[in-house]
Point group: C2
Chain length 365, copies 2
DNA sequence: AAGTCGTTTTTGATCGTTCAAATCCGCGGT
DNA sequence: ACCGCGGATTTGAACGATCAAAAACGACTT
C-alpha cells in the first residue's frame, strides 16, 4: 500500500525545503515563479494533498463552519432550515470551506459540543439557526469570544444597534406587508390574517406587516382589524379551524398567513364555505408549490451569502475581527412573493376530525 | 485571555505523566482506579478538552463521517435525503461522532474533495446517497480502500452477493406490493401505476411490486397490466397528465405511484374526471401529509442506524474491517404504509397549462 | 536474596504542518 | 571592498496529542 506523500516528499522531489512547499500552498506570492512551477509539478506528480489535521493543529484554522442541526421539526417547517443548510454548504464550498454538523438532545450538551469543537480547532465559527431570545448558546459564544452568526434576529430591544452579535434575517414585516398590499391592489378589501400566538418575534413581525398594510390602504377600524386576525399554533387543521371562524365572523375576502400550513388550512376552509379567495402562505414550501398556493419566499441563498460575508468578509476564509466599529453587523433581506394560480386544486369538504397530517400537536395553550 | 489547557497541564496538576492522562481518556481500564480518579478531577478542574486535530494527526481517527450534500433536487424529493441526513446526524451523535458536509458542483471535484478529506484524516468513512449504477465515486472509494456505505443499492447483477460494497436500502418492491395488496383488499380491481421511465433501479423495483401484486391477486391479462401502467418524469403535472390518459383508456379504480408528486397529480386527475378513488404515493412527504394522501414511508431512522452498524459495528466508532466474510454487508428494510383519509381535500378543475409548482422539467425524453 | 511475572506508569519519538527567525544571494551605493 | 537591503529560501522549534517501548513497582517463587 502506497504511503500518502507529505510536504517532505514534495520538497525532496522538487529540490526545495519543506517551508517552500508550504509557501507555494499558503503564500504563493513570496515564492519565485520558477520555483513555484517546479514545486507545483512535484505536487501534481506525487498527488500530494495537505494533511488537514496537521495543518489545523499548527495554524489553528480549520476552514470549517459548525452548524447545530436541531431535531427535525414536523414536516413543513423543517424545510426552510434544510434549504438554508444546503445554501450555506454551497456558499461555503465556494470559499473552500466545509460544514460540520452536530446535534445534541439537550441544550447543555450542545454547549459542551461547541466548546469541544472550538477548543479542538474543529471549526472556525458557528452558524446558528432557531435561536430564541436570551438563548444560552449566544451568551456563551459571546462570552468566550467565539465567532458566530445567526439566521434570525436576536429580538432584543434594538437589534440593529447590537454590535456584538452578527445576524442575518429576512424581513417578515416587509414580506407580509407587500403580500397584503398586492392582494389589496387586486381588489381585496378585507384581508384576514392567520398567525401564531404572541409573543413570537417572527410571528408578531409578520402580523404587523399585515396590520400596517391594511391600516394604510384600507379604511378599517381597530375592531375590524382585531376581528380579521387569528392566533393559533401552526398546522393545517388549526389554520382551517381559525379561518373558518374568521369567515363566519368577519367576512374576509382574502387571507395572508404566517406559514404555508396555515395557508393550506385557510384555503380548505374557504372552499368549505363555498368561497374562492386568494390565500398567501409563507416560506414557499413544496406543499405550497404542489397545491398552487402563493407564498412568500425567503431568499435563502442570499441569507447564506450574507451570513458568510459577515463572518469572513466578502471573499476570504479568515474571520473578520469584530472590532465593534464600522463594518456592518447584520443584514435584513427582503423576501419575494411567489404568485401562483390555484386553479389546479380546490379544497372540498373537510370532515370533523380529519387529520390532514401526522402532526403531533402538543397542547393548545 | 486564558490559555486552553493541554494534557501536560492536566498531567502536572494530577501528578502523573502525559500518557497516563491520555490513557484515562482512551483506555481507562489500564489505569489504576485511584489514579484515574485523580486525573479525572484534574480534568474537571482545569476544564480540559482534548484537541481534536492533534488527536487526529497522531491517531488517524476523526470520529467524523463525511456526507456529500448534493445540490437540492427540486422541492419534493429532497425531503427524503434531508430526513436521512438528520437521522444520520442523530445516530452518529449517539456514538459520539459527527457529520462533515461537503458539496461539489462537478463530480470530478467531488472526488478531489473526498480524497482530501480522507488523506487529511478529516473523516473515518463516507455515507453516500443518490448513487447511480457505475458511479465513479464508488469505484474510487473501493479502489482506494476507503470505508463507505451507501443508502441505495448498487443495482448490479446480484447486490446481495456484493461483498465489497456496504449498502442499506428500503424495499421499494415490498412497499409498493403491500400498498397495492391493501388497495385490492379494500375492493380495488384495477389498480393503476404511475412510475418513472426505465431503466431506473428504484423505479423499476416499485413497478415490479405493483405488477406482481396485481398479477397474483387479480386476474389481469398482460395487456391489461400494460394499459394500467404509465412511465413519466417526476412531477405533479406529469402525474396528472398520465393519470388522465389511464383514466380514459384503462378504467383504473385506484392508483399506486412511485412518488408523492405523481400521486398528487393522480388524485387531481381523478377528481377532474369526476371520480373519487384511493391514491397511494411514496416517501410520505409533507405534501402527502398536508393534503391527506396515503403514502409509503421509508424508515429513515432505521436506515441510518443500519448504515452506521454496517460501518462501525453495533456500537463502536471503529470501522469494522471488511474481511469479506461473515458479517452482513447490506440491509434491506421494509417500508410502512401510512394510510390517510383524503376527505379533507378534493381536487378540482385543472386548467390546461396550470403550473402546479416551480419544477424545472428538463426535457421529456 | 535474586529472579519472574503482571500490572501500572513513564519516557522518547513521531504524526505533517506552519511559525518565527535565520540564512543566503544578487545588486547597487558609498 | 565593504555594507546594507530586499527578496527568496532554509532551519529549528512548536502545535497537542498518541504510539511503542522501556522502566518502575509489588507480589510471589525459587
Amino acid at each position: 500500500m502506497r504511503q500518502v506523500p507529505t510536504v517532505d516528499d514534495v520538497a525532496r522531489t522538487a529540490n526545495v525545503s519543506r517551508q517552500t512547499v508550504s509557501n507555494v500552498l499558503n503564500a504563493p506570492q513570496v515564492v519565485r515563479a520558477e520555483t513555484r512551477a517546479r514545486v507545483e509539478r512535484a505536487i501534481a506528480e506525487l498527488g500530494y494533498r495537505p494533511h488537514g489535521s496537521a495543518r489545523r493543529l499548527r495554524s489553528r484554522k480549520s476552514f470549517t463552519i459548525g452548524m447545530a442541526l436541531d431535531p427535525l421539526k414536523n414536516g413543513i417547517s423543517g424545510n426552510v432550515l434544510d434549504r438554508f443548510l444546503h445554501a450555506v454548504t454551497e456558499k461555503a464550498d465556494e470559499r473552500g470551506m466545509r460544514i460540520l454538523l452536530f446535534t445534541a438532545r439537550e441544550r447543555h450538551s450542545q454547549l459542551d459540543q461547541m466548546a469541544a469543537l472550538r477548543d479542538g480547532s474543529d471549526v472556525d465559527a458557528f452558524v446558528l439557526t432557531g435561536t430564541e431570545h436570551g438563548d444560552p448558546r449566544i451568551d456563551w459564544l459571546t462570552d468566550n469570544n467565539v465567532p458566530f452568526v445567526t439566521f434570525g434576529r436576536p429580538w432584543g430591544d434594538d437589534d440593529f444597534a447590537d454590535r456584538t452579535h452578527l445576524w442575518v434575517d429576512v424581513d417578515g414585516y416587509a414580506g407580509v406587508h407587500d403580500a397584503t398590499a398586492r392582494l389589496i391592489e387586486q381588489g381585496a378589501r378585507r384581508v384576514g390574517f392567520l398567525g401564531w400566538p404572541s409573543p413570537s418575534g417572527t410571528g408578531d413581525e409578520r402580523r404587523r406587516g399585515w396590520r400596517e398594510a391594511s391600516e394604510r390602504m384600507l379604511q378599517l377600524t381597530d375592531a375590524d382589524l382585531a376581528a380579521l386576525s387569528a392566533s393559533v399554533e401552526d398546522g393545517v387543521e388549526q389554520g382551517a379551524a381559525a379561518a373558518s371562524r374568521l369567515l363566519e365572523a368577519a367576512q374576509p375576502d382574502a387571507f395572508v398567513c404566517a406559514s404555508d400550513s396555515l395557508a393550506l388550512g385557510a384555503a380548505m376552509a374557504a372552499t368549505r364555505h363555498g368561497r374562492r379567495m386568494p390565500v398567501v402562505g409563507y416560506d414557499n414550501t413544496p406543499v405550497a408549490a404542489a397545491v398552487g398556493l402563493s407564498s412568500v419566499d425567503q431568499p435563502l441563498e442570499e441569507v447564506a451569502s450574507a451570513a458568510l460575508e459577515l463572518l469572513f468578509g466578502p471573499s476570504g476564509t479568515d474571520v473578520v475581527p469584530r472590532t465593534g466599529n464600522e463594518e456592518p453587523k447584520n443584514r435584513l433581506l427582503a423576501p419575494r412573493l411567489v404568485e401562483r394560480d390555484p386553479s389546479g386544486v380546490s379544497f372540498g369538504e373537510i370532515t370533523g376530525t380529519a387529520n390532514a397530517g401526522n402532526h403531533t400537536s402538543k397542547g393548545t395553550s
